[in-house]
């Protein structure tokens, strides 16, 4: 049995559809016979990619003129649902805008949102969601009991994105009702933090540093090591909050989810909130001076040692190999 129709909330930057959107489309194909996308922007800019990953139609609002997505997109979806277009479920990635739209929509439809999911399955015509709790040690499976559409938030990198070779999605206009004062929050300027090398999202290797580095300057060791390995540098929240590195470096529950081939954790204790962001890595190497650090519980290779000794030597050894 499958669900009959799923909508996926699509996100894109300058026409580049986000990986999470493609992951959700791929999973939706498995769960439902019809997969469609909803997009808060110009549908023509994303129709080809969305179609390639299985969306037959993209319901698009057209340019929102800088208004934050939450209010207009949720109002437009709610109006479409009231008009009889309701899918069985609407999937959102756990992103800034995804959470906003899902939250607004839940009020408009008076429906619960099941959040932080890492897996979805269909059981007797109902959607069952899997959510990790306690840093991923326990998995909770939750089923929707109320009527549809089910509103679901899924964590990035929960599924592999695979193209289906579909034709470009048909663009259909999704009308945005008047939202009054609620729709007044508007973006006036966008700032992009400069960063060289591969992005945390795509890197095959990630080297992350934590409070064990001791001081801000020492993060340079992580940057150097990352550069030598062609890796992306990452960080624990402790040193992001301390202002050593920008938030865009943060790995974990409130940061990025990464699943590289190799994850190197230097001076990171392995708090549950950090681990949910990197536990899916294929190989984990940890350097920590405390033998009891929880990070060793997930490490494939653990070195109980001082980062100030191990990292410089490692950098030297890699440099010597050229």
């Amino acid at each position: 049995m499958t669900l009959s129709k799923i909508w996926v909330y699509a996100e894109a930057t300058d026409g580049n559809v986000s990986n999470t959107t493609l992951e959700l489309l791929t999973k939706a194909r498995e769960l439902a016979s019809t997969v469609e996308a909803v997009f808060g922007g110009d549908g023509a800019s994303v129709a080809a990619t969305l179609g390639e990953y299985g969306a037959t139609t993209v319901h698009a609002t057209g340019d929102l003129g800088g208004v934050l997505q939450g209010v207009p997109v949720a109002a437009a979806i709610a109006a479409a649902v009231a008009g009889g277009a309701a899918p069985d479920a609407i999937l959102f990635g756990t992103s800034y805008d995804g959470r906003d739209v899902a939250g607004r929509l839940s009020v408009a439809l008076d429906r619960t949102v099941i959040t932080n999911n890492v897996d979805l399955e269909e059981d007797g015509g109902a959607l069952v969601c899997t959510e990790p709790v306690f840093g991923g040690a326990t998995l909770v499976r939750t089923k929707f009991t109320g009527g549809g559409p089910n509103i679901v938030l899924v964590r990035p990198k929960s599924f592999a994105a695979e193209p289906a070779g579909g034709a470009p999605a048909t663009v259909e206009a999704l009308a945005v009702p008047d939202t009054g004062a609620a729709g007044a929050a508007r973006v006036t300027n966008r700032f992009v933090e400069e960063r060289s090398g591969p992005s945390l999202d795509d890197a095959a290797i990630v080297v992350s540093g934590g409070r064990g580095l001791g001081e801000s300057d020492k993060f340079q060791m992580v940057e150097d090591l990352a550069k030598l390995l062609g890796a992306a540098p990452g960080a624990s929240r402790a040193i992001v909050d301390a202002g050593w590195v920008p938030y865009s470096y943060q790995v974990g529950q409130t940061g990025k989810v990464v699943k590289p081939t190799v994850y190197i954790a230097a001076g990171i204790s392995g708090a549950t909130q950090h681990m949910v962001g990197m536990k899916g890595s294929k190989n984990i190497i940890a350097v920590n001076k405390d033998a009891e650090a929880p990070i060793f519980g997930v490490a494939d290779l653990g070195i109980i040692g001082d980062v100030h000794k191990v990292l410089p030597k490692l950098i030297e050894a890699l440099k010597a190999r050229g």
């Binding site: 934050l68 939450g70 959470r99 326990t138 973006v187 190497i285 191990v310």
Partner: protein
């Protein structure tokens, strides 16, 4: 840092969640399948940033009251007292046995009703997500119920002439976002440095007004919250498959060689 021209005094509400101490290992109640919350509740660290931000914004505006709003079981107030000790003027708590099992949407209904009781609230601050439930949907849900605009993931906030200016975190950096008040804003951790309550603050907190409401006082129908309001059912709880144990070595100087050999084996170097 909120920099602000002199404004009219601004009343601010901060949603302040009281949670079990995250340092204590969490557990699910096998009977009710919810988080066990029998011990003492503390102010969620994530909300300390909202309290601090509110105090700074009120000061910059030249005055105004900061009110804490919370929903918690068993009339627990310890976390709220911490926020009052930091400098908030008063608090509203909604507590009711019928709230057991309430989902994020139900929580937002309750918080919105409590916020509605605070006079002249121009700005509502929350954290981006709580430390225990972390659905991250409550801020938008509260805003939607109140019919207010909202800006999530603020890494800085300024208020000038009735408009709030926010730097909103994005994947690539940040967006500058503006919105006329009243508005709901969720703040990220680290946005300001929360102050430690002074001894005087702690003493003063004991006598600050703390309103305790039941669901009926808040004007909410018990059927729309709690287990009944949820629309979800837990069908399974299982242990996640553990990672296979790795090899751990004490660094005797050869730690580097072990790492290099490991990377060689993966054909990375």
């Amino acid at each position: 840092m909120p920099i602000s021209a002199k404004n009219d005094p601004m009343n601010i509400v901060v949603c302040a969640k009281q949670i079990p101490d995250p340092a204590e290992p969490g557990a699910l109640d096998p009977q009710t399948k919810t988080l066990k919350r029998d011990g003492k509740l503390i102010l969620d660290e994530s909300d300390m940033y909202g309290v601090e931000m509110a105090l700074q914004l009120a000061e910059a505006a030249g005055g105004g009251e900061v009110t804490l709003v919370s929903m918690a079981p068993d009339n627990k107030v310890d976390g709220l007292r911490s926020g009052l000790a930091m400098g908030a003027a008063k608090a509203v708590l909604v507590s009711d046995p019928a709230l057991a099992g309430t989902d994020a949407l139900g929580t937002a209904k309750v918080l919105a009703a409590a916020i509605g009781k605070v006079e002249g609230a121009q700005l509502v601050l929350t954290a981006t997500e709580s430390s225990d439930g972390y659905t991250g949907t409550v801020p938008e849900q509260v805003a939607a119920i109140l019919g207010m605009p909202s800006i999530t993931f603020a890494k800085s906030i300024e208020v000038r002439d009735g408009t709030v200016y926010v730097k909103r975190q994005t994947d690539a950096g940040y967006d500058e976002v503006e919105c006329p008040l009243p508005c709901v804003v969720s703040v990220t951790a680290g946005v300001v440095e929360p102050r430690y309550p002074s001894f005087k603050g702690i003493m003063a907190a004991k006598s600050k007004p703390l309103d305790q409401l039941t669901l009926a006082d808040a004007g909410i129908d018990a059927g729309s919250v709690g287990w009944a309001g949820g629309g979800q059912e837990i069908v399974g709880i299982e242990e996640a498959p553990a990672r296979e144990a790795g090899e751990i070595f004490e660094d005797d100087g050869s730690g580097v060689d072990k790492i290099v050999a490991y990377l060689e084996n993966l054909k990375i170097v």
